[in-house]
């Protein structure tokens, strides 16, 4: 019996955005770490320093950290804060005395070494990873981007220690997902880096087929190692929503009570907020919508330093301010399920394109409630909504069409039977995170040299 037969497979997970961060893709990272540890992996996560979350972005949610399996070991390699630090007292002595030279060095590094402002974190992650590897061998490195320094770090660890690595593209590095074109000029150093990290990757995961296809065309020599790992919804975060016994609509959408439309998610500039507000006003003329209210929950922009962006959204909300449209701010994670439970119709508003799925759509479906789409037709999220029996799709951003879809959803909410809700949830169940991650976990086992001998039907 060799050593691999007696110990758990060991993975170093490079995930800069990990709880308590509430930054980009943090739920996917959280779920992946929890899933792997639940499947018997020894998981070490390298993530952002606490100071980055608290002082630089202000984007954290301590309650979310409590949802990480305690068996997951969390490491926080240090990083330089050149791009974020604004307090002149905290500048290094070199930066304070030779600021122009410091700026030129910083820019040179981004232009010629690694075009990513998190590069210093990537490097310290490599150093920390090598130390841990020397003590006890890692079988696999899994890197999720952005930031793409994690990809470079995985590549470097592979070159230095020979550990196989897998890349997980939550977003695209070189593709402008919103305009369907390369995000960078042809001679940009990021292209060389992307080719380099892909060339040695054991597998490359993408969040939707559109992204996989684009990258497969761009890098055909790696195409066969590319796969899709969809996002999903996390049963443990929605546990307060009754899963088995759908509530009867007598309780919630009785004729006596006005319907409650809800948007829950981060509000960012670029979302069709104006169309949403206009359509809602139009829809309220339908008798079924009498007294209906639209409630918006969520942060304004992702980071607190995005003050301008938050202000822009706030202005949009003010401009769009319509009767019975209310903005409530962010919802603590434990109360998310309550918000869903108190809603009759969910509004799926996003600024995505054909490469954008969003994680929120899975959570929406898991509630088994009517969903109204407010987005363009070219969006990857449509693929997962197809087949959801309570999806009301206006087919674009035409205000009148959205209003009609809202009215239809309102009728559906009024007439909804427990059976319909169960059917909706059955569709959503296929996107439960553990189901989505199971095949990925098996693939990781193969790469790490621990093939899974469990029955796949389990």
């Amino acid at each position: 019996m060799g050593p691999r037969d007696v110990r758990a497979p060991r993975v170093l997970y490079l995930a800069f955005f990990f709880p308590p961060s509430r930054g980009s893709g943090v739920y996917r990272a959280r779920a992946t770490a929890n899933h792997l540890v639940g499947r018997g992996w020894d998981v070490t996560v390298a993530t952002a320093p606490t100071r980055f979350l608290h002082d630089m972005t202000g984007s954290f949610d301590e309650a979310l950290a409590g949802t990480v399996d305690p068996r997951v070991r969390v490491e926080r390699p240090s990083m330089r804060y050149y791009a974020w630090e604004r307090d002149v007292r905290r500048f290094s002595r070199f930066r304070a005395n030779f600021p122009v030279v410091a700026q030129k060095l910083h820019r040179w590094g981004r232009r010629h070494l690694l075009p990513d402002q998190y590069a210093s974190w990537g490097l310290t992650s490599v150093i920390r990873g090598l130390r841990r590897h020397a003590r006890r061998r890692f079988d696999l490195v899994l890197a999720t981007g952005n930031p793409y320094s994690s990809f470079a770090a995985a590549w470097l660890l592979n070159r230095l220690a020979g550990v196989p690595y897998v890349l997980d593209y939550r977003d695209s590095w070189t593709l402008d997902q919103f305009h369907d074109r390369p995000a960078l000029p042809d001679d940009h150093v990021a292209w060389r880096w992307e080719r380099r990290v892909l060339s040695r990757a054991a597998a490359v995961a993408f969040v939707n087929e559109g992204q996989r296809e684009w990258h497969a065309q761009r890098y055909p020599e790696v195409a066969e190692r590319m796969l899709v790992v969809l996002n999903g919804w996390d049963a443990d975060l929605l546990e307060a929503v009754p899963a088995g016994e759908p509530r009867t609509l007598d309780e919630t959408a009785s004729a006596a009570r006005p319907l409650r439309f809800t948007f829950l998610g981060t509000l960012i500039a670029g979302q069709p907020i104006e169309q949403l507000a206009e359509a809602f006003q139009l829809a309220r003329r339908d008798p079924v919508m009498a007294g209906a209210e639209l409630h918006l929950y969520g942060y304004l922009s992702y980071f607190h330093e995005s003050h301008g962006s938050a202000l822009a959204v706030r202005e949009l909300l003010d401009e769009a301010a319509a009767t019975a449209m209310y903005y409530h701010g962010p919802v603590p994670k434990p109360e998310v399920s309550t918000v869903y439970r108190d809603s009759d119709v969910l509004v799926f508003m996003t600024s995505g394109g054909r490469y954008v799925t969003t994680g929120k759509v899975f959570e929406y479906m898991a509630t088994g409630q009517p969903i109204v789409s407010v987005h363009t037709t070219e969006i990857a999220a449509r693929d997962v909504l197809q087949g959801y029996p309570l999806w009301f799709d206006p087919g674009g951003l035409d205000v009148a069409s959205i209003a009609k879809a809202m009215a239809k959803a309102a009728h559906a909410a009024r007439d909804l039977t427990p059976q319909q809700r169960l059917q909706a949830r059955e569709h959503a169940a296929t996107f439960r995170r553990d189901r989505v991650l199971d095949p990925f976990e098996r693939r990781l086992r193969e790469i790490a040299g621990y093939p899974d001998d469990r029955d796949e039907s389990q």
Partner: protein
């Protein structure tokens, strides 16, 4: 800490549209500004530009009468001059502060703002001397604008 006093905005590099726009925004918001520019020529150009009209809330000061650049231009070749300026200019300008200090009330400033990278060295020195004043490189408007409801 965010003081209610005027902002001391230091802008010592080549003319920055962003910094000038910031000064105008502060004045629009009713925040007094003491603007420090590198030399007399920069002050003249500032008034000529008309970004901010002469205003009771605005004082503009030159750190020195003339730039070190013309002297360097005569003595050293271009590439070497650029290198010297990159290394020494922030430090050189910061040394001129002493002459200006008597004319500018720094202690009552609400905030020191390094409006460009060259201003960093001077603002850092001021920050060390006046530890009660916020010293920042962020071009932010105050969260609460004086005399206005939040």
């Amino acid at each position: 800490m965010t003081g209610a006093g005027p902002y001391l905005v230091v802008c010592l590099g080549s003319r920055s549209e962003r910094a000038m726009r910031y000064v105008a925004q502060l004045l629009d918001a009713g925040v007094g500004v003491r603007l420090v520019l590198p030399d007399d020529a920069a002050v003249t150009a500032f008034w000529r530009d008309g970004t901010a009209q002469a205003d009771r809330g605005l004082d503009v000061h030159a750190l020195q009468h003339s730039d070190m650049d013309p002297l360097l231009a005569r003595l050293v070749p271009g590439w070497l001059r650029r290198a010297i300026l990159a290394v020494l200019r922030p430090w050189h300008l910061a040394r001129h502060w002493r002459a200006l200090a008597e004319r500018v009330d720094v202690a009552s400033a609400g905030r020191f703002v390094a409006a460009d990278v060259t201003a960093t060295t001077l603002v850092r020195r001021l920050a060390r001397r006046y530890p009660h004043v916020v010293a920042t490189a962020a071009l932010e408007l105050p969260a609460v604008i004086p005399g206005r409801a939040p």
